[in-house]
Amino acid sequence: MLKHRILIPLLAVLLSTPAFADKPGGTYQFDTEGQHQFILFKISHLGYSWLYGNFNEFTGSFTVDEDNPENSKVRAEIKTASIDSNHAERDKHLRSDDFLDVSEYPTATFESTGIEQTGERTAKITGDFTLHGVTKPVTLDAKMIGYGDDPWGGYRMGLEASTTLKLADFGITKDLGPASETVEIIISVEGVRQ
């Protein structure tokens, strides 16, 4: 009886401290299974409108180091053939050697090399992006959307990041017009802590 009188309040105190209840540090896998992950691209059509599309298949993870945020890490691997702009003929064309050349370059990868925290919930994530066989450093503007326990016994964190790429930098030189030389990539993912 005495035991419980001590143990229960002790547990309550321990569990209510940030160390147990609200510490978001750790490694998170993108929620591929539950499909709480999106990679969108946005490119100008003729300078008149935006064309949006998705990469439907990708995996990734990130590590949050609370004490040393600059040691946090992100990596993602995208199946280029999963590009989907809701138009079969266009998707086939985008997979061809005019654009992504998916049979030659089936994956695109991002591997962070440095993270600079810019605000309470914002950071600049620099990393090596490999697309179409070309690796270039890119910087993602990232925002942490939220984190915490989920209702099913897990722990989750959501991130959204974006960057703008020049297609020609990655050897994609098909001329789509002067307004369409760059493409914005938007990555919005939920990670499940491992």
Partner: protein, 181 residues
Amino acid sequence: MKLRNDKARYGWVAIGLHWLVALAVFGLFGLGLYMVELGYYDPWYQSAPDLHRGVGLTLLAVALIRLAWRALSPPPAPPGDHHRWEKTGARLAHWGLLVLLFAAMISGYLISTADGSGIDVFGLFEVPSVTGRQNGLEDSAGLVHYWSTWALVVLAGLHGLAALKHHFIDRDATLKRMLRP
């Protein structure tokens, strides 16, 4: 005006359909090779594929009519002076052409309709998708379309060369009976 085929000769319907299909096959092949190389700002960038899809689906209708006509009015027997191997070869080639023609047309249709959308035929009507949205179907159908169309024109070329061989070397009536009844 002799429309129907008889035991020895083709009628005008079979002759007309034969050359119409030949024209469409080579026309579509050339148009297909041309349109995929067009630049994004080329005035033909949209109209060339529109024409390709419209003619392709029209050809599907023509090819079905041709099959129906073949059943209604069977083609004449091969000329009697052909060797046995020539008859066998011709028979294989004719069936090969038919299979490749349908493979080419159906795979082309499947590329355009793999996202569930229909194909507009010259602004007159729309042929709907039968598959609905199928991820990746455009790629597998694209592969079949590419190779079946190449095989079709190569085999059609051999078929034409064989006709010329009968005309100029064997000096028989094979080619002439496909020109007039």
